[in-house]
C-alpha cells in the first residue's frame, strides 16, 4: 500500500512519458489524476492507521534498499510516515489531485498535454520523496527532483525564450540553495555521524548552543540557505515571480502549495536541531519577516495578476519562516496548510480568469469579471478573505497565531510583530486591489475577448479549495482564541505534530495582550483593505495621484527594488565577463602561448642548429679543425 502511495505518481509519469506525443488531454489527464487519486486514497488509508495509534508511537517506516554506503556513511532509500509527513502527504496528494483535475480543462488545447501531465506526476513523486524520506539524503533527492520538475514545467512552453530563461533561472537559483543544503548535510553528518532524522533529533544536545560557529548553528544556517532557495526567501526569491511563466496550474501546485513550502517543512522537520541553535533561528525569523514585508510591498505595484500572486506567495512564505524562526512550528505548519489551500485556490482562480481572457494576464485589461465568472469570483472571494485574515476564515487563524507567537515566543521580538503586521496590512491592500482590478468595478476587457465561465473540471477544484480555505482554519485554532470561542476548539494540528517537536518553553502570555494585538492588526488590515477598495473601485483616479505623489518610492517598488538588475549587474555579468577573460586571456593567451613558446624554443634551437649543417664542406672541415684544436688543447693542458 505504501508503495502505491509513493510510486503511483511515478507510474503515471512513466505511462504519460512514453506516450508524450499524444495530444489527448482527457486521456493523459485521467491517467495522471488517477495516479494521484490512488496516492491520495492510500495516504488517507495510512492517515486512518496513524490515528489509531497512540500519539507517541505514530510512525511507520519503510526501507526500500541501502542507497549509498561508504565507510561509516550510510544512507538508505528509507521512508517514514509520521504525523508531520502525513500532513504534508495529504496536502500534496489532495491539493495535487485537485490541480491535476483542473489541468485537464486548462490544458485541453495544448499541443503536448501528455508531457505536461507526465512532468506534473513526476513532480508529485519527487515531492513525496522529499516529505517522506527518513533521512536528509532522500530529502535532498526530492529536493533536487522538485527543482528539476519545476525547471521543466516553468519552461514547458519553451519556444518562448523568456519562459525557457525563467526555468533556467529557477533551477540555478535553486541550485545555489541546494549547494547550501549539501553543506548542511555534510556538517550534520560530521557532527552527529548520521543523516537520519530520528537519530539526529535524539543526539542533539538539550541545551541550546549560543555562538555563531558551533557546528549546529552552521548546519542550520546551511540548511536555511537551501530553504532560501527552495522557498524563495531574500536574497534568493527572484526566481519565483519569473516562474509564473509556467502554466498556471503549475504555479498553483509547485509555486504556491507544495514545492516552495519545502523549506518550511524542512525546518519543521529539523526543529530539534534549530531549537539548539538560537542564532540560526533568529536569522530565519529576521529573513522571514523581511521577506514578508518586502515581497508585500512589491506586490502593491504589480499589474500582472500572476505576479501579484507570486509576490504574495513569497510574502506568505516569509510569514511561515517568521513562524518557524520564532519556534512556532505548529503555526508555521498551519499557515503552510491554509496557504496551500487558499493560494492554490487563487492561482487556479487566476488560471480560470486567464483561460477565460485568452491568456491575458494584465489586470489593467480586466475588471468587472464578476458577472461573467460567478463561480470563479465566489471562490476567489473566499481565498481573498482567507489571505487578508478576515476573522474565522482559515488565514485568520494561522496568521494570527504567527503574529502572536512572533511577539510572545521567547525567541520572538516585538519588532518582528511590527514588521509582520505591516506586511499583513500591505497584503490586505494588494489583494483587495487584485480583486478590485480583476472582478469588480468597470470592465476594461478589450472588445475582442468574451470572458466565459470555465468548464466543470475547472470549477470543481475551485469549489473544493474554496471550501477548504474557508474552513480549514478550524483545524488550527490558536489556543488563546480557542478558549473563548464557543465549543472551545482545540489546535488539532499542533497536537497532531506535537510528539515530533522539540521543547521550547513558551510561558503564559496574557489573553488580554493577545486579543489587544489581534485587534490592532485587524483594524489596520481592514483600514488598508478599505483604502484599496476606495482607490480601485470607488475612485479609480486616486491611484494615479498617489503614485505621482510618491513617485520615487513607487518606481522603486514597481521595479522590484532593482534586485534582478542588481544581480545581473553585480554578479552575473561580471562573472560572464570574467569567464570570457579566463577563456581568451588565460587559456588562449597565457597557457597556450606559454606552451607555444616552449615548443618555439625547441623549434628555434633546431633552426639554429640547422644553420650549422650548411652544406659548405669547408665549414665542415672547420668543425673538424675546431674539434682537433679543442681536443689537443685538453690533451696538452693535462
Amino acid at each position: 500500500m505504501f508503495y502505491v502511495l509513493l510510486f503511483a505518481p511515478l507510474l503515471g509519469f512513466l505511462i504519460n512519458g512514453f506516450r508524450f506525443r499524444s495530444t489527448n488531454a482527457k486521456l493523459a489527464g485521467t491517467i495522471a489524476s488517477g495516479a494521484i487519486l490512488l496516492s491520495f486514497i492510500s495516504a488517507l488509508f495510512y492517515f486512518g492507521q496513524l490515528i489509531k495509534m497512540p500519539a507517541e508511537a505514530r510512525s511507520l517506516s519503510f526501507i526500500l534498499f541501502d542507497w549509498i554506503q561508504v565507510g561509516d556513511f550510510s544512507a538508505q532509500m528509507g521512508f517514514t510516515l509520521d504525523p508531520l509527513s502525513m500532513v504534508m502527504t495529504l496536502i500534496i496528494t489532495g491539493v495535487g489531485f485537485l490541480i491535476h483535475l483542473f489541468s485537464v480543462g486548462y490544458m485541453d488545447h495544448d499541443e503536448r498535454p501528455a508531457k505536461y501531465f507526465a512532468y506534473l506526476n513526476f513532480f508529485v513523486f519527487n515531492m513525496l520523496l522529499l516529505v517522506l524520506g527518513n533521512n536528509l539524503l532522500v530529502m535532498f533527492v526530492g529536493w533536487e527532483g522538485v527543482g528539476l520538475c519545476s525547471y521543466l514545467l516553468i519552461g514547458f512552453w519553451f519556444s518562448d525564450p523568456e519562459k525557457a530563461a525563467a526555468g533556467m533561472k529557477a533551477f540555478i537559483t535553486n541550485r545555489i540553495g541546494d549547494a547550501g543544503f549539501l553543506l548542511g548535510i555534510f556538517t550534520i553528518f560530521l557532527t552527529f555521524g548520521t543523516v537520519t532524522f530520528t537519530e539526529i533529533a535524539s543526539s542533539v544536545p538539550a541545551e541550546p548552543l549560543t555562538g555563531w560557529t558551533s557546528p549546529i548553528t552552521l548546519a542550520c544556517l546551511f540548511l536555511f540557505i537551501g530553504a532560501m532557495g527552495k522557498s524563495a526567501q531574500i536574497p534568493l526569491y527572484v526566481w519565483l515571480p519569473d516562474a509564473m511563466a509556467g502554466p498556471t496550474p503549475v504555479s498553483a501546485l509547485i509555486h504556491a502549495a507544495t514545492m516552495v513550502t519545502a523549506g518550511v517543512y524542512m525546518i519543521i522537520r529539523m526543529n530539534v536541531l534549530f531549537l539548539a541553535a538560537p542564532n540560526a533561528m533568529m536569522i530565519v525569523a529576521i529573513v522571514g519577516a523581511l521577506t514578508a514585508l518586502m515581497a508585500a510591498t512589491i506586490g502593491l505595484a504589480q499589474n500582472d495578476i500572476k505576479k501579484v500572486l507570486a509576490y504574495s506567495t513569497v510574502s506568505q512564505l516569509g510569514y511561515m519562516f517568521l513562524a518557524v524562526g520564532v519556534g512556532a512550528f505548529g503555526a508555521g505548519l498551519a499557515h503552510l496548510m491554509t496557504h496551500a489551500f487558499f493560494k492554490a485556490l487563487m492561482f487556479l482562480g487566476s488560471g480560470s480568469v486567464i483561460h477565460a481572457m485568452h491568456e491575458e494576464q494584465d489586470m489593467r485589461k480586466m475588471g468587472g469579471l464578476k458577472k461573467y465568472m460567478p463561480i470563479t469570483h465566489a471562490t476567489f472571494v473566499c481565498g481573498w478573505l482567507a489571505i487578508i485574515g478576515f476573522p474565522f476564515f482559515s488565514g485568520f487563524f494561522s496568521k494570527d497565531e504567527i503574529l502572536w507567537m512572533s511577539f510572545h515566543s521567547p525567541r520572538g521580538h516585538w519588532l518582528l510583530w511590527v514588521v509582520g503586521v505591516i506586511a499583513a496590512m500591505f497584503t490586505a491592500f494588494y489583494m483587495t486591489r487584485l480583486m478590485a482590478m480583476t472582478f469588480w468595478g468597470k470592465s476594461r476587457v478589450p472588445e475582442s475577448i468574451h470572458p466565459h465561465e470555465s468548464p466543470v473540471t475547472m470549477t470543481i477544484p475551485l469549489i473544493v479549495l474554496g471550501f477548504l480555505s474557508v474552513f480549514a482554519g478550524w483545524l488550527c485554532v490558536p489556543h488563546g482564541l480557542g478558549s473563548v470561542l464557543p465549543g472551545h476548539p482545540h489546535n488539532f494540528l499542533d497536537q497532531w505534530i506535537h510528539p515530533l517537536m522539540g521543547k521550547l518553553e513558551m510561558g503564559h502570555g496574557s489573553l488580554g495582550m493577545e486579543f489587544g494585538l489581534m485587534g490592532v492588526s485587524l483594524v489596520l488590515v481592514f483600514a488598508s483593505a478599505f483604502m484599496a477598495y476606495r482607490f480601485y473601485v470607488v475612485d479609480p483616479s486616486l491611484p494615479q495621484k498617489a503614485q505621482a505623489r510618491v513617485k520615487g518610492l513607487y518606481d522603486l517598488v514597481a521595479n522590484k527594488y532593482w534586485v534582478d538588475e542588481g544581480y545581473f549587474k553585480f554578479i552575473i555579468n561580471p562573472l560572464v565577463r570574467l569567464s570570457r577573460h579566463l577563456w581568451a586571456d588565460v587559456d588562449v593567451k597565457l597557457i597556450d602561448r606559454a606552451t607555444y613558446s616552449i615548443s618555439d624554443l625547441f623549434k628555434n634551437a633546431g633552426g639554429g642548429l640547422r644553420m650549422v649543417q650548411s652544406g659548405n664542406m669547408q665549414v665542415y672541415a672547420l668543425y673538424i679543425l675546431i674539434g682537433v684544436v679543442v681536443s689537443l688543447f685538453f690533451l696538452m693542458a693535462r
Binding site: R610, Q613, S614, G615, N616, M617, Q618, A621, L622, L625
Partner: protein, 106 residues
C-alpha cells in the same frame, strides 16, 4: 739561439712539417677552387710524410719509412680518384668552385 739555427735537429724538420701541414690545411679551408684544394690535401699528406721520415731517422726505425711508402701510394690513388671526380663534376656543372656544391645540407 744561433747554435740552434746551425745544428739541425729533429725540431727543425718537425717545424717544416708542421708549417707545411698548416699551410695545406689553410688551403683546404680557404681556397674555393676544388683543384687547389686537392693540391692542398697533397701538401698535408706530404707534411705528414716529412714527419714520419724525420721520426724514423731520429729513432732509427725503419717502420716509418715503410709507412711513408704506403702513404705515397695511397696519396697517389687518392689524387687519381679525386681528380676523376673533379673531372666528372666539371663535365656536369662546368664549375670548380666548391661553394657551388652545397646540396648536402639540412
Amino acid at each position: 739561439m744561433l747554435s740552434n739555427l746551425f745544428s739541425i735537429g729533429i725540431g727543425h724538420y718537425l717545424f717544416v712539417s708542421g708549417a707545411l701541414f698548416v699551410m695545406g690545411m689553410l688551403g683546404v679551408l680557404l681556397r674555393k677552387n676544388i683543384l687547389v684544394i686537392l693540391m692542398s690535401i697533397e701538401l698535408m699528406l706530404n707534411a705528414v710524410n716529412v714527419a714520419f721520415v724525420t721520426f724514423a731517422y731520429y729513432l732509427n726505425d725503419v717502420n716509418g719509412a715503410v709507412i711513408v711508402l704506403f702513404v705515397i701510394a695511397i696519396a697517389a690513388t687518392e689524387a687519381a680518384v679525386g681528380l676523376a671526380l673533379v673531372v666528372l663534376l666539371y663535365k656536369n656543372f662546368k664549375e670548380v668552385n666548391i661553394r657551388f656544391f652545397e646540396h648536402l645540407k639540412g
